[in-house]
Amino acid sequence: MSCQTRLSVDELVDYFAGDLPASDSERIDLHLLSCSDCTARASALAPLLTALREHIPYVISTAGLQALERRHLRIARGEARAGARNLVPFPDGADLLVIKLAAPLSEVTHLDCELRTPDGHPILAIPEAPFDAQEGSVQLACQRHFLERFAATPEFTITLYRTGVAGPRVPIAEYTIHHS
């Protein structure tokens, strides 16, 4: 039987993101349970969207950290002080190490982060990073597979820059972090 109400990719994205009203979401639930054509199309999309849920950004917001806690990941926590060399080991058994970087952020509206090797070689640039202005913190999410990816550089520096539409880009804090 061919499908008479073919679901669009856009509709499916909204459905899997949980952004449809309950009645529309139920209509799609029922349709997918009865339609092989739309199931085939949705099956080509759903694994990617599910994987996106598990894709952890380099810098996470408080909402992102709460989402990770809901998924019962083993999260280790560390802190780093600006202007210091911080030893923050990645504990055995942890899935993720969240390092809280304390910084004066109360006046900041936009923030960029840059990671470099100790000799200044760029590792990562993270423009428009999330931060908590009130608490004055940025949360760096170190993942276990980074240890392999950056095995040659167990130590790195991270610089926070205040940015804005009109103003210049100004460094506001720098941290050196060593993992082992």
């Binding site: 039987m1 990719v9 856009d10 994205v13 909204d14 459905y15 899997f16 993101a17 949980g18 952004d19 979401s25 639930d29 029922l30 997918l32 349970l33 009865s34 339609c35 092989s36 199931t39 085939a40 949705a42 099956s43 999309l45 759903a46 694994p47 990617l48 969207l49 599910t50 994987a51 996106l52 849920r53 598990e54 894709h55 952890i56 950004p57 996470i60 917001s61 909402a63 992102g64 989402a67 423009p127 428009e128 597979h145």
Partner: protein, 183 residues
């Protein structure tokens, strides 16, 4: 010369309702076809509501056990009601699984009735493709799928309209899919 065409309808050609009727009649082949046909559909329901590949696989196994038992016992009022029955079963099972009753809902023995899912997404490739997206698209995808925030809230945080946020999200996913397919 008289030519006659002989065509035997296989279970693959049956409608969902006819398949349900054949299961009730005790056709083992129809049971296997029902599981093959409905497992991907239930998995999608699980991915939407449980947001986890393993849990979605568990749901498919459990829901199809419930459906097969109902069909064998003739408890389905009409075979046309199979999707609605399955929907009800999935909804109840998801509620139970969210309460932490996973794997204890229906006892079953022997081989799983649902085939394993296809190999998943290449996470390293995904990370690489994600890093290649414009920053605004990365932010939108992270806020939608990682942080699980509603689109209206995301739009407000990024100073966009909800319509524009949806457009950017859809464009980002199209880009990601293209990048992933180019692996």
């Amino acid at each position: 010369m008289r030519v006659s065409a002989c065509y035997r309808l296989t279970v693959h050609d049956l409608t969902d309702a006819d398949l349900a009727s054949r299961v009730t009649a005790g056709d083992a082949g129809a049971e296997a076809e029902l599981c093959r046909r409905f497992a991907p559909r239930v998995r999608l329901y699980g991915l939407r509501h449980l947001r986890d590949e393993d849990a979605a696989g568990d749901l498919a196994q459990q829901a199809l056990m419930v459906v097969l038992e109902a069909l064998r016992a003739g408890r389905l009022e009409s075979p046309d009601r199979l999707p609605a029955f399955l929907f009800g079963a999935c909804r109840n099972l998801v509620l139970s699984m969210r309460r932490g009753e996973r794997r204890t809902l229906v006892e079953y023995e022997g081989e799983p009735i649902v085939a394993p899912a296809e190999p998943g997404v290449d996470r390293h490739r995904l990370a690489s493709c994600f890093d290649g997206l414009p920053r605004r698209e990365q932010q939108l995808l992270s806020m939608s799928f990682h942080e699980e925030r509603p689109i209206d809230e995301i739009a407000a945080a990024l100073e966009l309209t909800a319509v524009n946020a949806r457009v950017i999200r859809h464009r980002a996913i199209a880009r990601l899919r293209t990048c992933m397919e180019g692996a």
